[in-house]
Symmetry: C2
Subunit: 448 residues, 2 copies
């Protein structure tokens, strides 16, 4: 501990100060309560996973964003990239778990991405995932979308200013579109990777990328015609479904894929997710390699060029990699950090700097143990109480309360002590009242 | 995603299944509530810190236990080792924070230690820290011990079977003992490192280690005589203090160190921490390099050879390393994972596998959307509800409820639907009653 070290943080990593953490804790309470009403049970996994558990699940670009540890030359361990792959690993290691296994998990993940704070993109961020492992039912997918809807509803993101939109699509349908465009079904990943960028880079550049990948201009043209069907129908579930049934008539697999989408929409209606909130969007592909069925992603139309607030989908093949046979699974992730950034941008997060309700002031002629005794009584009654220990001027002590947003300061000098009372000063209004010690907790609790 | 990957975890890292997480969440609620009644505000810091921020604070042995990332040859970034150094870094970066700054922080830390699950020792574990930065007052130290006492009290660790003991000592006093034994004050770190092991390896081996470090047999003998004072007085605060005042009379610095201890005990009395719970223990040294004043550590006498449940102390010099001048600070850490292991060992954690209160059974002649509608109503009333989606036999569905400890299953066939009722089966007692749909939420809430 000799020379000075520059205090600093790795780019893309952030401290959460009390004014960030207090609303975050409230958001987490809302989310866990809603997750649990849907019957999801909490799980956590370690930050450190074996590298081979993670690699090859997120696509080539995802793999590059994994942070390995220096341990054993950097080829053995890494920080988790998401919560889905660790869950799959956990389920594979615990055959005793119930099926279906409904779990939620709220933990940070790490990605060696280019940080873009303005878009809410960081290298460390919380994911809040719910997954159902062991059920092939599309109702489990509907529940994924519904549980997110209930969370966004509780956080106040349904009004026009925020403009929550829940985009849904299906990887099976994307495969059908690829064949309907005259391509090989196996080219679907190439097509999806390119299509995934259409919102960011536009059609022309996507067409150029497809051309580079050996997709004919003709096939690309036909593909663009097909995916335009959802936009032509405003993404409205029923209209888009009907249009696609007509367009894709006779194309192998189209019936199954569209039946899945119909079932998903029926489930969502039963789960009280309004049709107007949903957008059947054929452009939605989701980046990750492991999806196999319905996929979903949630955005705010009210915040231009702001990233997604969450998303997910079905990944029926992921677990088989761990040698546990075919176990269907589906899940969704809410980006807590992203949602919090959105609420801040919309000016909807109350910013508090302290949980403290009362500050016991220090008086020169009163021993500190007396202040501690008063605080101990209040704390025992559940009133968050701080005690000032230093021999500072009154003004400085009261400024501390003002700075932290502590509403009350308490003064108990020898005279008050003798009479069993406390002077209670409301630092917001400047008013001061004398309160009996025995009434103090109630007074502090009820006073506005 | 081709060949099979063995699902496994790095040694010393654990998954937390629902039966671990449900009680952990309850413990965390207790802790955060108590932390906040003391006026501590929540903070989080990133898992990744610059390596030079961490190195040189934990002692030689601590530094070896840090996990660097592979990034830039493993010499730049690392996982946090504790929450104290990241807090100091945070405070140094945020001069706008109030002083004193009282914060709590609950996050995992990583140490490349030899895992000993039987002693509750892992490579990833949660620390729950409270710290007061910017106050030199010993009352802040007293609050550290008191807030932990209140947590252990709320978790039921005060009875004789658990046998919570709160050991306290002071680094300044250890320095005094070192000089009183005829050694140089600067040899205090060597002495502390050796003494720290006395409980584990015994006096003889500690003496041998001191001998190896060049401490004379005479000085070691005198040192052992001095530290025996606390044991001779049963570690009782007042008796030990008095005995030390007599023994150390005239030794430079003894008065100040003992006055600090006296003030700490006075503060603890004012904070309603019973004297019998405290043990003034001169053998306590705490491993970390950064402590400068009072130190404390908490153990259960009821669990033989079980590690500490928490501890901390004052570190007035740590922040100056970041070039922000002298800022006194003191803090304490509760080892959540360790406390949970202790509660499990004592058989005091109720093990629940699911938050779900009711499982809606699947009937062949009822569409799944009907079950979802029933669940949606119950969830809207705050009843955690799961829906069975698969066409399984009744027995299998009920077994799922039994396995997860879900108390009720709900049956609503076409007849019940028409009559607006639901059959409610209590799977623990086997009893079945018919309940009006409108009364269902109340029934499930109130039924035992």
């Amino acid at each position: 501990m000799a020379s000075t070290i520059q205090p600093r943080l790795f780019k893309g990593c952030r401290d959460a100060l009390p004014e960030d953490m207090i609303p975050r804790r409230e958001m987490l309470e809302v989310m866990t309560r809603i997750f649990e009403t849907f019957g999801f049970a909490p799980v956590e996994t370690p930050a450190i996973e074996f590298l081979d558990i993670l690699l090859g699940k997120y696509g080539e670009e995802g793999d590059k964003l994994i942070y390995p540890l220096a341990y054993k030359g950097g080829r053995t361990l890494a920080l988790r990239y998401d919560l889905t792959v660790p869950l799959s690993r956990l389920v594979a290691m615990h055959p005793e778990l119930p099926r279906p296994f409904k779990r939620y998990q709220i933990q940070p993940v790490w990605r060696a991405d280019r940080p873009q704070p303005a878009q809410g993109r960081y290298r460390e961020f919380y994911q809040c995932d719910v997954d159902t492992v062991g059920s092939p039912s599309l109702m489990a997918d509907a529940e994924n979308v519904a549980v997110c809807y209930r969370v966004y509803e509780a956080l106040g993101l349904l009004d026009d200013e925020a403009g929550l939109v829940m985009r849904v699509n299906n990887r099976k349908l994307l495969r059908v579109l690829v064949t309907a465009a005259g391509l090989d079904a196996d080219q679907d990943k190439t097509v999806c990777t390119a299509l995934d960028k259409i919102d960011k880079i536009g059609r022309e550049k996507v067409a150029a990328e497809l051309d580079e990948k050996g997709i004919s201009a003709d096939a690309t043209h036909r593909l663009f015609q097909l995916i335009a069907v959802s936009e032509e129908n405003g993404g409205r579930p029923t209209a888009t479904l009907e249009a696609l049934r007509a367009t894709l008539e006779g194309v192998p697999g189209a019936g199954e894929a569209l039946d899945e989408m119909a079932a998903l929409f029926d489930g969502l209606a039963a789960l009280d997710v309004p049709d107007e909130r949903l957008r059947f969007d054929l452009v939605l592909t989701r980046g990750l390699d492991y999806y196999t069925g319905p996929i979903y992603e949630f955005q705010l139309t009210g915040l231009a060029s702001f990233g997604s607030l969450g998303g997910g989908g079905r990944y029926d093949d992921l677990l088989s990699i761990y040698g546990v046979g075919d176990i269907p699974a589906t899940g969704v992730s809410i980006g807590l950090s992203r949602v919090q950034s959105a609420l801040v941008k919309l000016g909807r997060l109350e910013s508090r700097k302290s949980p403290t309700r009362a500050l016991v002031l220090h008086l020169e002629d009163v021993p500190q143990t007396t202040s501690l005794r008063l605080a101990t009584r209040l704390r025992g009654e559940g009133i968050p109480t701080e005690v000032w220990f230093e021999p500072s001027r009154f003004k400085k002590q009261i400024q501390h309360a003002v700075k932290l947003g502590i509403p009350f300061v308490l003064i108990q000098g020898p005279d008050e002590l003798e009479r069993g009372v406390v002077q209670v000063k409301d630092v917001r209004q400047g008013r001061q009242v004398e309160v009996m010690e025995s009434d103090l907790a109630d007074h502090l609790r009820s006073a506005d």
